[in-house]
Amino acid sequence: MIKIENITKSFGDKLVLSEVSGVFEKGKPNLIIGASGTGKSVLLKCIVGLIKPDRGQTFYDGRDFYDSDRTTKTEIRREMGMLFQGGALFDSKTVEQNVRFPLDVLTQMSRSEKADRVNFCLKRVGLENVNSKMPSEISGGMKKRVGIARAIVNNPNYLFCDEPNSGLDPQTSILIDELIQDISEDLDITTIVVTHDMNSVMGIGERIMFIYKGKNVWVGTNKDITHSGVKELDDFVFANKVMNSLRNK
């Protein structure tokens, strides 16, 4: 479980996040949603420690991340896996080397154990026979899947996904969403997904936090989202023509 308390972050005079608090449970994807520029990705980067917030705290299963020493921070980070918006695969390494990378650097596993684990993870994300390909030789959807394989290869307790569907076609988006949901349930890990894709929200949004202008405005599920009574959320949800037509029916 990840708990955040009063996360506040400004860049210069611009207040990006204001007193954002919440709890992200394990076993299901936790979605952070909101329009572009509302601070979702900044919040995610504050949670994983890539950006230090001006105020606030993050607790990983009770362990305070920001106030802990370097060793504890490193230990917590080694329990994390993250899928970045663009995949963030290492250009100079093959798909296999990318997925194997955390094992090479962070574990003492033997060569065959690593190979088995890499092949298992690639199979888990539906990729086979791509081990020797370079990131530049595979599609955007495949890059995301390789990114997920790399994120889960070291058995993380926490999985973070920054806009996993951006730039993907609807069918591939659904596959990625289902993959994230399955992995969260199977591995029983805490997963946080930042997205503005309503298909994802309706598909896997069993726990949703809606961010508006840097504030946590609403928390609920995809079942409640269409009748939240929050104007800002309604504007976001029904901006989608399909959702709007469903509302009018």
Binding site: R70, T74, R77, R78, M80, M82, F84, D91, L106
Partner: protein
């Protein structure tokens, strides 16, 4: 702070061993052709121009190769090659790290709990310090060989005079001085270029800006260090 981060929270020696080896190959072998080519022509041109300026018949011919030796060992091999090194290796380091930064590859390392500065920059600095002095030695040899070819093939100087000039009044401290300079220059180019690349912000345009800044700043730092070292180690 940047340099301090190189040594905190490091990975195992085994991890760095392979990275350093890869960087050595990239820096050393990758620069070998350019360094050899430039230094050979520098030596050739230095020989021709020195001979052109020797207007007195009272100065023996072997002085030409003495001058070539001193110029190459003291200045051309370590310093001018450092400028070329900054352009080739420094820009590559800054561009590579800058691209890794804007494509979130550095963030990916950090999230894995890896000290990205130490993992990415330390091998580059160590490899640079190991390989650049070797490149300078090769540049020195190629420079003198270039001078020999230019001098003897055009009849400026006989082979015997050229070799005699190289060997006469030889002061081994000039070579030590050149190697000291090469270590300092290697460190400056690698650390400045890595710093500029690592802290790139923005997109592809900013990677280009970082690369240009890396080369410019490295060259200025090399020239300042060149003067300071000369003042410190050679001034009487």
């Amino acid at each position: 702070m940047f340099l301090g981060s190189l040594f905190t929270n490091r990975e195992t020696f085994k991890t760095y061993y392979k990275l350093i080896l890869d960087e050595c190959i990239s820096i050393g072998l990758g620069s070998l052709f350019l360094v050899a080519l430039v230094s050979t022509f520098m030596g050739a041109v230095t020989t021709v121009q020195t001979a052109y300026n020797m207007v007195s018949d009272f100065i023996p011919d072997y002085v030409i190769s003495q001058v070539v030796r001193e110029m190459i060992v003291l200045e051309l091999a370590p310093t001018i090659i450092a400028v070329i090194y900054a352009g080739k290796v420094g820009s590559s380091m800054a561009g590579g790290l800058g691209t890794m930064r804007i494509t979130e590859q550095i963030d990916a390392l950090e999230v894995m709990g890896i000290n990205s500065i130490s993992y990415l920059v330390l091998p580059k600095i160590i490899a640079s310090i190991m390989m650049y002095p070797l490149l300078v030695i090769i540049a020195g040899v190629c420079g003198m060989l270039g001078g020999y070819l230019a001098g003897t093939l055009t009849g400026i100087i006989t082979p015997t005079d050229y070799v005699y000039g190289l060997r006469s009044s030889y002061n081994e401290f000039t070579v030590i001085f050149a190697l000291i300079k090469s270590v300092v220059f290697a460190f400056l180019v690698a650390s400045i270029s890595s710093y500029k690349g690592y802290y790139t912000q923005g997109g592809a345009l900013e990677v280009g800006v970082s690369t240009t800044q890396a080369v410019t700043t490295s060259v200025i730092a090399v020239l300042i260090a060149d003067y300071l070292l000369a003042q410190l180690l050679l001034a009487k």
